[in-house]
């Protein structure tokens, strides 16, 4: 309610009256909100519990290397526990990045955790960007959900997402305005919203 008077007139009142009717809302939209909230809670819980068994994928090499890495992760869920503890061949990384120094992709999940949410680390080179975030089917294509962190020395942006094993489509949003798929992973033929996306395969579906 108005606690102080504004200078209003008939025109402003007519404008306000035209803007006040509430839009109709399909019940499914409200249900989707609750689904998104539940997914967010699950992600938060998954992130909190997944540290010791996090799967780490640094996607910054060539397309071919990324395909190998994706395939390795996909097959990783089928490995024996002993095999799954070993590091997979590293994806080629841009030199100078902390991730490159850290050794690239590393698989630390166990076969027994094949259905549990897994943490995946993504890397994207955008030295001129001020903000980069990951969007994908796992976060409702929400550019505010998974912000990445910039490594000032290399210009690489990195961030982790927590996803269930299976196939995911993702992209990057640069400076809240530019949509870009990851050039180093396979392009998704069925990208959401008609925008380009890349494919991420994680573990055993």
């Amino acid at each position: 309610m108005h606690d102080e008077r504004d200078e209003t007139d008939e025109t402003i009142e007519r404008i306000a009256a035209a803007l006040r009717p509430l839009p109709e809302v399909a019940p499914s939209r409200k249900a989707l909100v609750l689904v998104a909230v539940a997914a967010d809670r699950a992600r938060a819980r998954g992130a909190g519990e997944s540290g010791p068994r996090a799967w780490r994928l640094a996607v910054a090499g060539t397309a071919a290397a990324a395909v190998v890495a994706a395939a390795a992760l996909w097959l990783g869920g089928r490995r024996s526990p002993a095999a799954a503890d070993r590091s997979v061949p590293a994806v080629a990384l841009d030199s100078g990045s902390s991730l490159a120094r850290a050794g690239g992709a590393r698989l630390a999940g166990r076969a027994g955790d094949a259905l549990a949410p897994q943490v995946v680390e993504l890397v994207f080179r955008a030295p001129e960007a001020h903000r980069v975030s990951v969007v994908g089917d796992f976060n409702g294509w929400n550019a505010g959900a998974d912000a990445m962190t910039r490594d000032s020395a290399s210009g690489l942006w990195s961030g982790t997402i927590t996803v269930r094993p299976g196939r995911h489509v993702y992209a990057f949003v640069i400076d809240d305005s530019v949509w870009a798929r990851d050039p180093r992973t396979p392009e998704a033929a069925d990208a959401d919203f008609g925008r380009p996306g890349s494919v991420l395969l994680v573990g055993h579906p």
């Binding site: 606690d3 504004d6 009717p21 839009p23 609750l34 967010d40």
Partner: protein, 204 residues
């Protein structure tokens, strides 16, 4: 949840009133329950506020899809932030602060407002004897609204459509009351001028 009683839900076929939102005591109960992790209580808050949030987001962003994304993201963030919500802060301005932030982010991301405007979802007044003129009027208003700087559009909507007090607007936007009054004043002046220009153009 059973102790909270039935919610008064906003009806889409009429203009909202301050009574459309849950009454203060009822809202307090819902928020407290939601803070404790009561999912039905949170669902009741979504039920009660979704339409209002969507109206604001639609007018801010001009796109139904963007507005629904912003509203969904708003409620996800509300749920995430509920544990840190303190009751000395009114719930609605707190909710609108998150919503306005999401709209600002979405507006920066899309930058297509001037080109894409959707009006089909705005319900018409059943009693309006000239529906075509009413639709044209709303479209003209939406175009005029779209030309306002985002801060002025936000302030105008909060004040004249959402009926927030300047104090609540200050909570929701982080801006001072004097600055908000100036934004509203300038928004009104711009809207009047643009709609007058439209009238003049039609008469010419």
């Amino acid at each position: 949840m059973s102790s909270t009683g039935p919610l008064r839900l906003v009806k889409p076929d009429r203009e909202p009133t301050p009574d459309d939102a849950p009454a203060a005591a009822e809202r307090t109960q819902l928020v407290r329950a939601a803070q404790r992790g009561d999912v039905p209580a949170f669902a009741a808050l979504v039920d009660a506020y979704y339409a209002r949030c969507l109206r604001f987001a639609l007018h801010m962003l001009g796109s139904r899809a963007d507005a629904e994304d912003a509203v969904q993201d708003t409620f996800v963030r509300v749920h995430r932030a509920l544990p840190s919500y303190v009751e000395r802060e009114a719930f609605e301005p707190w909710l609108f602060r998150i919503l306005a932030n999401r709209c600002r982010t979405a507006g920066l991301r899309e930058r297509r407002r001037a080109a894409v405007l959707e009006f089909g979802e705005v319900p018409e007044h059943a009693s309006d004897p000239r529906p075509d003129e009413a639709v044209a009027w709303r479209e003209e208003i939406a175009r005029a609204l779209a030309t306002l700087p985002a801060e002025q559009r936000e302030a105008f909507l909060m004040r004249h459509v959402e009926d927030l007090s300047y104090e609540d607007m200050a909570t929701a936007t982080g801006a001072g009351i004097s600055a908000l009054k100036m934004r509203v004043k300038r928004a009104c002046e711009s809207l009047r001028r643009r709609l007058q220009e439209g009238d003049d153009a039609r008469r010419a």
